[in-house]
């Protein structure tokens, strides 16, 4: 009974907040609805028994990706009225994308119900006493090790690309050198002088 209620609660909130992401007038509100959607999706994952995926969803999407979204959206100060001005102009293109997506969805569901390519993959996985993390780890580091490493390399390349694109050397900037600061001793920097009256001192 409780999982039943929880499923419909989470599912309803996911769909409603996903709709609100699109309909909210304020972009910051949109991001907040998006976060709510992520959060409830994690709840659905929990119900499906994938607690590891649920936690990763919250840590990665809510904790990092959405924070950066919010960061950018807050600073950009987007005027949404201006964005909506081109609504009619972009409507055909948007409709085309929507139709393609719906067609693909129907196609995929039809193929799935007609009996997919690999019947074994459709069967529910055997329930073992191993925890989620162990199962995923075992698959990831044995069967899918090359795909996993390929994904790692793609991410590495993306990271290096982002650094190269944003990195620029500016001339004339005085950069703090921490180690040279730490090596500086009082006797290097100070000098005790005893000037005579009216003579002043040279610096």
């Amino acid at each position: 009974m409780i999982p039943f209620i929880a499923f419909y609660l989470f599912a309803t909130i996911v769909i409603a907040s996903a709709a609100m992401v699109i309909f909210a007038r304020n972009p910051v509100h949109s991001v907040m609805w998006l976060i709510l959607a992520f959060f409830n999706a994690a709840g659905l994952m929990l119900l499906a028994g994938a607690e590891f995926i649920a936690m990763l969803l919250v840590i990665v999407y809510v904790g990092a990706v959405a924070v950066l979204f919010l960061f950018v959206v807050m600073m950009l100060n987007i005027d949404f009225a201006e964005l909506r001005a081109g609504f009619v102009r972009y409507l055909p293109l948007g409709a085309l994308v929507a139709i393609i997506l719906v067609a693909e969805l129907i196609f995929a569901l039809g193929a799935w119900s007609a009996g997919g390519v690999d019947l074994a993959a459709r069967a529910a996985p055997a329930v073992t006493d191993k925890s989620n993390i162990q199962q995923i780890g075992e698959l990831l580091y044995t069967r899918y090790i090359f795909l996993f490493e390929a994904a790692g390399i793609v991410l590495l390349v993306a990271m290096i690309g982002a650094i190269v694109l944003t990195h620029r050397q500016r001339g004339g900037v005085r950069i703090q050198n921490i180690s040279s600061q730490n090596q500086r001793r009082p006797q290097d920097a100070t000098r005790l002088v005893d000037p005579g009256v009216g003579q002043g001192m040279e610096l």
């Binding site: 409780i2 509100h29 936690m55 990763l56 919250v58 924070v67 960061f71 807050m74 993390i133």
Partner: protein
């Protein structure tokens, strides 16, 4: 606890519900009391370090000061700035407060004394604590004011930066404990140091991580010397500037509940949690309830937190970022290699 309610003749479903609610109240209410007393302790410690008296008027030794402050704040008027985004302005402190309470669900107070004994406990804490940043960021934005906004920007960057190295440090601990469950992590520490000491912190490989985790938890809770989000010399009061009465108090409570949580995590992950410090039967260590040991460790770490706040000057923002990204991140990454290499050599070969 569910069994107790069933034995009282309750329907199992109802008993489960009642037991869960009772568990939540058993954690949340003492936590609020602890926060009130810890604010008092904090002020007394700073006062002692600055050779002042601290709160000493309300109640014996000023013990009731926090409750008097709470009552005062409760009776004040909530002021919402005209330009503020009303909904988010009011939701932000609620998020901070709720998130600070939620993480306590997986904290084990004794062997088996956990509200939710889930096998991804540590990930749950990481997930929940990463939500904490939203309260700060939203309050800064919704206030529609310059200084809170600066503060929100700082908070977002700071918390993300330090969460990265905290995550890597946790991986090191998990590798050693072989579990994400906090109770299992504590049990793995029994007799870890030569069979005598019950702590990961006395392991030479893990001690540097314990130190980094302590410093990073200061940064994660935005305590001094990393309290750049509310640096009063630059940003008035940071993200709390426009807040008043209860909405302000919720930030205050949430902040201290987070500090307590971080002190608890230090105690659990590296210093044995509810285990007594030594694994020797000669002295009746194990007869003292685990919760006493845990509280003693929490208080010790809280004392370190306020000691640091009273003595260390505030970091500059670029220094904070340098410490997080250029020092802590490389060290914690290298340490993962070291730890996994050492474990492959000794445990799994």
């Amino acid at each position: 606890m569910t069994e107790t309610f069933i034995s009282w003749g309750m329907d199992p479903n109802w008993a489960w519900g009642v037991a869960t609610v009772a568990g939540i109240l058993l954690i949340a209410l003492p936590l609020m009391l602890a926060v009130a007393m810890i604010i008092y302790a904090d002020r007394k410690i700073w006062a002692a370090m600055a050779l002042r008296r601290g709160p000493n008027v309300v109640g014996p030794f000023g013990l009731l000061q926090s409750f008097a402050d709470g009552l005062k704040v409760f009776l004040q008027e909530t002021i919402i700035p005209t330009g503020a985004n009303r909904g988010l302005f009011l939701i932000a402190p609620i998020i901070t407060f709720t998130v600070a309470l939620m993480a306590w669900a997986v904290i084990p107070f004794n062997s088996g004394a956990v509200l939710a004994d889930i096998n991804v406990g540590l990930l749950y804490i990481l997930a929940i604590s990463s939500l904490g940043v939203y309260g700060v960021v939203l309050s800064g934005w919704a206030s529609n004011s310059k200084y809170p906004f600066f503060s929100a920007m700082r908070a977002a960057a700071q918390m993300i930066s330090y969460e990265v190295s905290i995550g890597f440090i946790l991986v090191g601990v998990v590798l050693y404990a072989d579990s994400f469950n906090l109770n299992e992590i504590i049990k793995a520490q029994q007799g870890h140091g030569l069979g005598i000491v019950n702590a990961f912190g006395f392991n030479l490989l893990l001690f540097p991580l314990a130190v980094i985790f302590l410093i990073a938890s200061l940064a994660e809770t935005a305590r001094a010397p990393f309290d750049l989000t509310e640096a009063e010399s630059e940003l008035v009061a940071g993200y709390q500037t426009e807040y008043s009465s209860m909405s302000f108090a919720l930030f205050w409570l949430g902040e201290y509940a987070n500090v307590l949580l971080m002190a608890t995590l230090n105690a659990i992950l590296f210093w044995g949690g509810w285990l007594p410090p030594l694994n020797i039967d000669l002295i009746p260590w194990f007869d003292i309830p685990g919760i006493v040991w845990l509280f003693a460790k929490i208080l010790f770490f809280f004392f370190i937190f306020s000691w640091v706040k009273a003595t260390v000057p505030r970091y500059r923002y670029d220094q904070l970022m340098r410490l997080g990204w250029k020092i802590f991140l490389p060290i914690s990454l290298i340490w993962i290699f070291l730890i996994s290499g050492w474990l492959m050599l000794t445990r799994y070969s």
